[in-house]
Every structure is written in structure tokens, then in C-alpha cells.
Amino acid sequence: MPQQEQELLQGTLDMLLLKALQLEPLHGYAIARRVQQMSDEVLKVEEGSLYPALHRIEERGWVESEWGTSENNRRAKYYRLTRKGRKQLEDEAEQWRRLSFAISRVMEA
């Protein structure tokens, strides 16, 4: 895939992950499930992209990770949105709204 398209998707994926964590901390599997649910099964996050992305947004300070116990009583790593992350989510959501609005206008013209 050409370099540019990948990058666009990277940013969008990050945004979706942040959104998924808006309500409560989740672990990896649950995050992927939530995104799937919220998109009505349209967006299926590849595991191969999920974890690198999680580490990426953690590196940038938008989420924090913590070990906890999952529903099945096993050890799992939970990700939680930080204050910086909430701000980032707001900014990116606004940008996305404007972008998609503009694209829709073009396509319906």
C-alpha cells in the first residue's frame, strides 16, 4: 500500500481507539469489539494493527495502561484515556466532522 494511504488510516485508527475508550477503560480484545459494535460490524480492526496502534497512542500520552483482571479472571492490560487523550479526541473528532462534511458536499454537488 502506498505510504500516504497508510498514514491516513493510522490517524483514523488512533481516533477510533480513543473514542472506544471514552466511556471506560478496556483491554485490547474489548476495544476491538467495541469499535466493531459501535460501527454496526462495519469496521473490523486487525489485530496486527491494533496493538502497535495502542502502543503508539500510549507513547504519545493519550492513554495510560495498567494491569488488571479481566472478566474471565485472567491478567489483562487495561488502557485508559488520559486528560490529554480526551482533548485529543475532541480535536480529532472536530477535524473529522469538518473533513467528512466537506467531502459529502463535494460528492453531492
Partner: protein
């Protein structure tokens, strides 16, 4: 806070494994849940698990990708890059050797000069509170006493004078330069290593303190030296202390310190003579006083003394300097210029290695293109290439360090280099840090360009077959620009060297007004002789010396060309209009043999002769310049001249002759009008005469003969510093000689490096154009045409470099202005010569590649890939 600690923890060893384990643990839960899902949709437990695991790929790959997202600079990664780089270097030893050698030369030169700058200029002197010590020369004992009464800026001062002692150690007599000083000197400077300093109440006791070097050399470094007696100038002195290693005051040539009293008491006249200005003052600034205050105070003091004692102090000024400035100030400009020069040389070396790397990354393009296509981040590739560069640079830097210190050791082995504090230059942490830093920065400088170039190729075109022959034209331009810059820098450095060399040569060709062939000089101190007896003593000395076998002409006078004349004076000539400013000339008392021993040309009239005795008419002989200044084209012989100097009688003297100008203020200063008077008519000498003896040869036998002759005149009379005049003259030129030599050395280095650069550029260019050349030859081009084709490129680069260098040289050579003698900073001859030299270097460097181009076999070339 925890986040910060976690980040730091990443640098600890074992991070990789920890992270892997972490990821594995994290994924376990996810895999489990997926497995449950799969079972729920009908797979068997085994299948379910396998299917789930497959979705994650290999744990290693996942860990790798997650780690990539984290940060770029991790120790283990960098370690990997370094090892990889080392392997690559081993595989191309030719490249490695050339690059490392180039870097070693460039970094080594910088290390050497920086060590000099640090050891000589920056490192503090080994005294107590050296930044608060100030010194001034030209004091007389009465002046010093007066100053001490009124001084406010200093809380402690000492007085000192230099002397050449004839010391007898174990029966052996030798001459040792030493310092006689008041006891406060050691309170100001520091305490001895062994024994003790002079006590305040011991000023009149004959005591001595040795320098570390003298202690080691002559007394075996044994502690038994304390209390021993050493005979100095006929008086036994007791040794009470030894100074630490590296302690020198005022400079490294003085090897012992002697109490002040004995020498002064032997000739009490010195204590009252306001004109005997051979003493130096050392002072320690009081708390709260500044240098400026002290300097202002001393100016005011000089003014007051001039008003109170006009005959002796009218034009006396004291120059007060911080002790560091007076010790090393003279050599600072030269060292700074050298520092700039080696900086340029390093840049040239960087350009060379950058070119080498550019050539190499061109051949690694396929490897790198593949990595980019497989998803490697550009930053990673750049980082890896930078690691290789910096590693190369460190290896070169280490070798350079060795070279630098070998060079400095060699420099230190020369005895009489005009570099103060040279012995305190050695390897220390500061120099190591400097070398380390310079290596790192150098590696980044020459590495960043090739690294960036390498990481931005278009992957598609590089992977095509025959990728080698696709010329990246921007790469070629970059390489040409680098070589052009090299040549410009080399030109700047070489022009500097050329100007200094030309200046030095001009200095050696100066007509000093005397002939140094077969001329022995010496000095005899007559302070202990009563002034009225001095003419007799001098006459006796001349007679005895003339009888020494091998001596052709003996003379004595109160000045020694080319640098020393003891007095200058105001004068006036009869019949001349009074001038706006007072006229000054050197004023010497000489024997008849003086001017003839020097073989100074008589221009008009006669020289000083025996008939000019104490009762004969008062006469003088003047120098050509004075004749021109005061008389123009008139013949001065027969005119009258009056010397206006304190202590001189107010009477007219007849000018009986004019002689050629003799240099008395250095070979490079021609402004030296002089007045010569017969010795017997002017017995008020400052207590010392310089001997000028024309001999058949300059053997030790003749010099010993002269020495013995002087000693035989009267007990306590010595002749010291006997040496050929050629040596004296040579020493006055030691600084320009050193400057010219060092700069030439670095200029040679710069030229060699530039030649290598041109060679590399052309070599590469030829190998890239093999096909094209083959085609041309096949189509009938002759050798000459091929030569032109290749040379055009080279000559264009060289020409452009010379033009750029021209502008740079004109600007840069201005810093040399104060060091040049009879050469302007834009001397056309030098510039033309250097340009020619660079063109020759270019031609020479092109020889091999051009030859290779002409020998191309078209059939081979056309198949060349």
C-alpha cells in the same frame, strides 16, 4: 513521574526481553477470548486456538512492531547498528582505511592545536589566585619603594630582577638564568615543594631556592639538597627550598630564585639609581580592587614620579598587565590563527569522507531501497547510517589523538621554541573531552548528508535491473560542490601559509646594517665597577680580547643589534628648525672597534676612533636615517648636535661621521636613528656592555679565550652569553619562523586532502561514465578527446574552487596583517602562486583517473554494468 521513570527504565539492559514478555502476556487474554469466540462458532478447541493465534502473526514480529512505535533511540538498537556498521567496514577495508586516515589527520590536527591553546592560554598558571596577580616591568628600586608607600590597589607586592648566574656546582661552573627577588614573592606565588620560602627577615642572607627541573638535573632530586651550599657569582648561597614541578616564574628559562639583599648590598648604588630600570614588580590585588583601578593607579603614579623627578622619570610609563597576559599574551594571536586553520582542515577532511560515503551509499542503494520497500522507517535508516558515520569518526578520532600527542611530544623536544608554557601542555580530561566531542560532531556533519540522500531514493527505480547505472544527478552535484568547497578552503589556508612564508623570507633578507658572519657576541656586567673606573676597565677588556688567537677585531658598546639598545634620547641639531615633536634616537656609547667589528658601512666622514678620548673634543657619529631626518640632503659632517638626556652635559658635539642604519628594535623595524658616542667621553654606562668580536671562526676555543680574557682584567668580572651573532639573529626570527612552519604544515595537509578529494571525485565520475567513454572511443574519439572530456569536469571544479577561495582568502588573510613584514594581505604574487599550486594539484590528482579513462577498451566498457 512514574511515566518518566518508566522511560528511563527502558534504557536498562534486558529491556527487550522484558517487553517481549509483556506483550506475550498482554496478547494471551486476547487470544483466549478469540478462542472462546471461535469455539462458540463451531470450531474444535485446537482449531479455535490455532485460528486465534494466526491472527497475531509471530509473537516476535508483533513485539517488534509495537516496540517500533515507542521510540527511536534505544541502546540495543544502536548497539546493533554499530555492530552492523563495523561488519560493513571490515568488508570494505580500502574505504575504511582512507576514511579513518583522513579523519585521523583532521581530528588529530585539531586535538594538537587545542591542547596547545588549552595548556598555554586557558589553563590557569600554577600560582595562588593567579587571576589577581598583576605585573609590570621597568621599575627602579627607588620607584618601587615610592610605589609601595602609596599603593592602594595591592595588598602585597614583590620586586624581582633577572640575572645570569655563574654557578659552581660540584666544582663545575655553568651559567644558570635566575631571578633575584624580595621575600614576598613566594607569599604571592606559592610555597615550595620541599623546604621553605625566604622569610621576610632573611632578605640580606644569601639564600637560594631551586626549580624542580634544576633539582632533578643537577642534584639528583635528593632531599639532601636542603642546606647545601651553591656558589653563585662568587658568593656561597644556602639552598633552603625546591619549587614544585611546573612552577615557573617569570618563564621556564629561569631555574633558581635568590634573595634580593646580597646583590643589592654588593653595589649599593643600585638602590638609589632611579635610572636603573631593570626591575619587575609583582602585585596581588586587594579584595575589592579591580584591574582597571590598579592600572589607573599606576598611570597616576608614573605621572607623579615624572613630575617629582623630571630628570629620570620624565617619559617613564609602566604597563601593568595580569600575569597571564604578560606570560602568554604574545602568542595568543598566532595560536588563534592556527586554531582557525585546523578547523578548516577538518572541514576539508569532512568533505572528503562525506564524498566517500556518498559514493558508498550510491552502491548500497539497492539494499536500502529494499528496506524502504519492506516498510523500514526512514528515520531508522538515517539513524543506522549516522551510527556508522559516528563510529567511523570515533575510530579516526582515537587514531588522531595518538598522532596529536606524538606530534606534541616532538614539538616539546625542541629546546628553544618561542611558545611560552609549552612544557605544561599534556593530555588531560579537557583535551579528551574535546576530541570526543569533535569526533561526534564530525561524524554527524559528514554523515548527515549521505544518510539523508540514501534514505530518500524512489524505491521503484532502484529495484529495477541495472540500478547501478542510473546516475542520481543530484548526488553528483553534491559531490562536486563538496570538492569545490574543499578547494576553496585549501586555498584560504595555503594563501595564509604563503603570506607568512614570504614575510619570513623577506625578514631574512633584511639588511640589518651589520654582518653576522664570524661575529661573536657577549655581555659583560660592570655594575660592580665604580663608574669612574669603567672606561679603564673597558679599554683593558678590549686590549686583552684583541690578543686572543683567532680574534680579528674587538669592540664593545651599550647596544646589541638587532634588538637591544639600552637608551634612547632626545636630541637637537644646530641650525635646524625646531620640530613639532621631539626627535628621539638610540644613544650608544661605543669603542672604536664596535662599528668596525659589525662591519657597518661608513657613509660619510669617519667612525669613532681612539683619538676621541675623554679630553678630546666631543664628537658623535650618526646613522643615515638621522642624517636624512635632520639634514635632508646636506652633508651633516661638521654640524653640531646636542643630546638632551638627564645626566648628559648640556653641550654641543660635532658630528664627525655618518654610518649605515643598524637595526636595534628588531629585524622588522627600520625606524632606528642612532647616535654613537665615544665611550671615554660618556662613562655613565648602565653597568653593562655588549661585546662584538670579529673572529676567524666561531669555535668554542675562541669563545673560551674571550671569556678568559675578560675574567683576567679584574676579579669578579665575567663575560656571559657568548654566542655567535647568527644565533642571536636567528632567535629573533624564531616566532615568524614557527608561525610560517606550522601554517605551511597544515596547508600541506589541506592540499593533500584536497588532492585526495579531487582524485576520488574524478575516479568515481570516470567509473560511472565507462559506457559513455567506451562508446565515444568506439566512435573514433582519440585519447586527447577523452582526456579533455574527463579533465573538463575536474578543471571546472578546481576553477570554481579557486574563485570561491579567492574571495575567502582576501577576507581571511586580513587577520594576518600584524604578522606580515613587507607583504600586504592581498599580495598578488602569493595569490597567483597558490592558484597555480592548486591547479597543479588538480592536474596531479587527475592523472590516474584520466589514464584509466584513456585505456578503456570499448568492448569491455560497453558490456560494463
Amino acid at each position: 513521574m512514574t511515566r518518566f521513570l518508566k522511560r528511563i527504565a527502558r534504557w536498562l539492559p534486558g529491556e527487550r526481553e522484558r517487553f517481549r514478555a509483556d506483550i506475550a502476556a498482554e496478547l494471551r487474554e486476547h487470544i483466549e477470548q478469540l478462542t472462546q469466540d471461535n469455539i462458540a462458532s463451531g470450531m474444535s478447541p485446537q482449531e479455535a486456538k490455532r485460528a486465534a493465534q494466526l491472527r497475531f502473526g509471530t509473537p516476535d514480529a508483533m513485539a517488534e512492531r509495537c516496540q517500533d512505535e515507542r521510540s527511536v533511540f534505544r541502546f540495543e538498537e544502536i548497539g546493533k547498528d554499530l555492530r552492523f556498521g563495523l561488519r560493513l567496514l571490515r568488508r570494505s577495508p580500502g574505504f575504511a582505511i582512507v576514511a579513518i586516515l583522513t579523519l585521523a589527520l583532521g581530528i588529530g590536527a585539531n586535538t594538537a592545536i587545542f591542547s596547545l591553546v588549552y595548556g598555554v592560554l586557558l589553563q590557569q598558571l600554577p600560582f595562588q589566585e593567579p587571576e589577581r596577580l598583576m605585573t609590570a616591568r621597568g621599575f627602579s628600586v627607588p620607584d618601587y619603594d615610592d610605589f609601595r608607600q602609596s599603593m592602594q590597589s595591592f595588598d602585597q607586592t614583590a620586586m624581582w630582577a633577572s640575572n645570569l648566574y655563574t654557578a659552581v656546582i660540584d666544582g663545575q661552573a655553568e651559567q644558570i638564568p635566575g631571578i633575584t627577588a624580595t621575600p614576598e614573592l613566594f607569599a604571592l606565588l606559592g610555597q615550595p615543594l620541599r623546604g621553605r620560602a625566604f622569610r621576610i627577615d632573611e632578605n640580606d642572607v644569601p639564600l637560594a631556592i631551586l626549580s624542580y627541573e634544576l633539582w632533578q638535573a643537577r642534584f639528583g632530586g635528593s632531599d639532601a639538597v636542603l642546606g647545601k651550599s651553591i656558589d653563585l657569582a662568587g658568593t656561597p648561597h644556602t639552598i633552603v627550598g625546591v619549587m614544585p614541578k611546573g612552577f615557573h616564574f617569570p618563564s621556564a628559562q629561569y631555574k633558581l630564585w635568590v634573595t634580593f639583599g646580597p646583590a643589592m648590598n654588593a653595589v649599593p648604588e643600585q638602590k638609589q639609581n632611579r635610572s636603573l630600570r631593570i626591575f619587575g614588580m609583582l602585585g596581588h590585588l586587594r579584595r575589592g580592587a579591580t584591574r582597571e583601578q590598579a592600572q589607573a593607579e599606576i598611570q597616576a603614579f608614573a605621572q607623579r614620579q615624572a613630575n617629582t623627578y623630571p630628570e629620570t622619570n620624565r617619559n617613564v610609563r609602566f604597563q601593568l598587565q595580569p600575569i597571564m597576559e604578560s606570560t602568554v599574551g604574545g602568542i595568543r594571536p598566532a595560536l588563534m590563527i592556527l586554531l582557525g586553520t585546523v578547523g578548516f582542515v577538518l572541514l576539508i577532511a569532512c568533505a572528503n569522507v562525506a564524498n566517500l560515503l556518498l559514493a558508498r551509499t550510491a552502491s548500497r542503494k539497492r539494499e536500502l531501497a529494499m528496506r524502504v520497500a519492506l516498510g523500514a522507517r526512514r528515520i531508522r535508516i538515517v539513524r543506522q547510517l549516522l551510527c556508522e558515520s559516528v563510529m567511523l569518526s570515533f575510530i579516526g578520532g582515537a587514531l588522531g589523538l595518538v598522532l596529536a600527542f606524538a606530534g606534541l611530544r616532538w614539538l616539546q623536544s625542541w629546546q628553544s621554541l618561542p611558545i611560552p608554557r609549552l612544557d605544561s601542555v599534556h593530555l588531560n580530561w579537557v583535551v579528551l573531552l574535546f576530541t570526543f566531542g569533535v569526533s561526534a560532531v564530525t561524524g554527524l556533519i559528514f554523515g548527515v548528508l549521505p544518510a539523508w540522500q540514501a534514505a530518500t531514493p524512489d524505491p521503484n527505480s532502484m529495484l529495477k535491473e541495472g540500478g547501478r547505472s542510473s546516475r542520481s544527478s543530484s548526488g553528483k552535484t553534491m559531490r562536486a560542490i563538496l570538492v569545490t568547497a574543499e578547494i576553496a578552503l585549501a586555498m584560504i589556508v595555503t594563501v595564509g601559509a604563503g603570506l607568512l612564508v614570504k614575510s619570513f623570507v623577506a625578514l631574512t633578507q633584511v639588511d640589518p646594517g651589520f654582518s653576522s658572519e664570524h661575529l661573536v657576541t657577549g655581555m659583560s656586567v660592570l655594575v660592580e665597577v665604580k663608574p669612574e673606573k669603567r672606561p679603564q676597565v673597558v679599554a683593558a677588556m678590549m686590549e686583552k680580547i684583541s690578543k686572543v688567537p683567532g680574534v680579528e677585531q674587538a669592540g664593545a658598546g651599550t647596544g646589541m643589534p638587532p634588538e637591544t639598545a639600552q637608551r634612547s634620547t632626545k636630541y637637537e641639531v644646530s641650525g635646524a628648525a625646531p620640530t613639532a615633536e621631539p626627535q628621539y634616537a638610540y644613544f650608544l656609547a661605543v669603542t672604536p672597534g664596535y662599528l668596525s667589528a659589525l662591519r657597518t658601512r661608513i657613509v660619510a666622514g669617519r667612525s669613532i676612533e681612539d683619538r676621541d678620548g675623554p679630553d678630546a673634543p666631543k664628537v658623535v657619529v650618526i646613522s643615515e636615517k638621522l642624517a636624512r631626518d635632520s639634514f635632508g640632503s646636506r652633508n651633516p659632517v661638521g654640524e653640531q648636535l646636542k643630546v638632551l638626556s638627564p645626566g648628559q652635559p648640556d653641550e654641543w658635539r660635532t658630528i664627525v661621521g655618518v654610518v649605515a642604519d643598524v637595526r636595534f628594535s628588531g629585524m622588522d623595524d627600520s625606524d632606528a636613528p642612532a647616535i654613537y658616542t665615544p665611550y671615554p667621553q660618556n662613562p655613565q654606562l648602565l653597568g653593562g656592555v655588549y661585546l662584538m668580536v670579529r673572529t676567524r671562526d666561531e669555535s668554542a676555543g675562541v669563545m673560551n679565550g674571550i671569556r678568559r680574557a675578560v675574567e683576567s682584567v679584574s676579579p669578579g668580572l665575567y663575560a656571559v652569553k657568548l654566542q655567535p651573532m647568527s644565533k642571536v639573529v636567528s632567535e629573533t626570527m624564531s616566532t615568524p619562523r614557527l608561525n610560517a612552519s606550522l601554517l605551511s604544515l597544515f596547508s600541506l595537509l589541506a592540499l593533500v586532502l584536497s588532492a585526495t578529494g579531487i582524485y576520488g571525485l574524478l575516479s568515481y565520475s570516470v567509473s560511472q561514465r565507462m559506457q559513455e567513454i567506451g562508446v565515444r572511443i568506439a566512435l573514433g574519439a582519440k585519447s586527447f578527446d577523452v582526456v579533455l572530456l574527463v579533465m573538463r569536469h575536474a578543471m571546472f571544479v578546481v576553477g570554481l574552487g579557486i574563485l570561491a577561495g579567492l574571495a575567502g582568502s582576501i577576507a581571511a588573510s586580513r587577520v594576518l596583517r600584524t604578522m606580515l613584514f613587507e607583504v600586504t594581505t592581498t599580495d598578488p604574487q602569493t595569490f597567483a602562486f597558490v592558484a597555480l599550486a592548486l591547479i597543479s594539484v588538480g592536474l596531479l590528482a587527475s592523472y590516474v583517473p584520466v589514464r584509466r579513462a584513456t585505456k578503456v577498451d570499448p568492448m569491455v566498457a560497453l558490456r560494463y554494468e
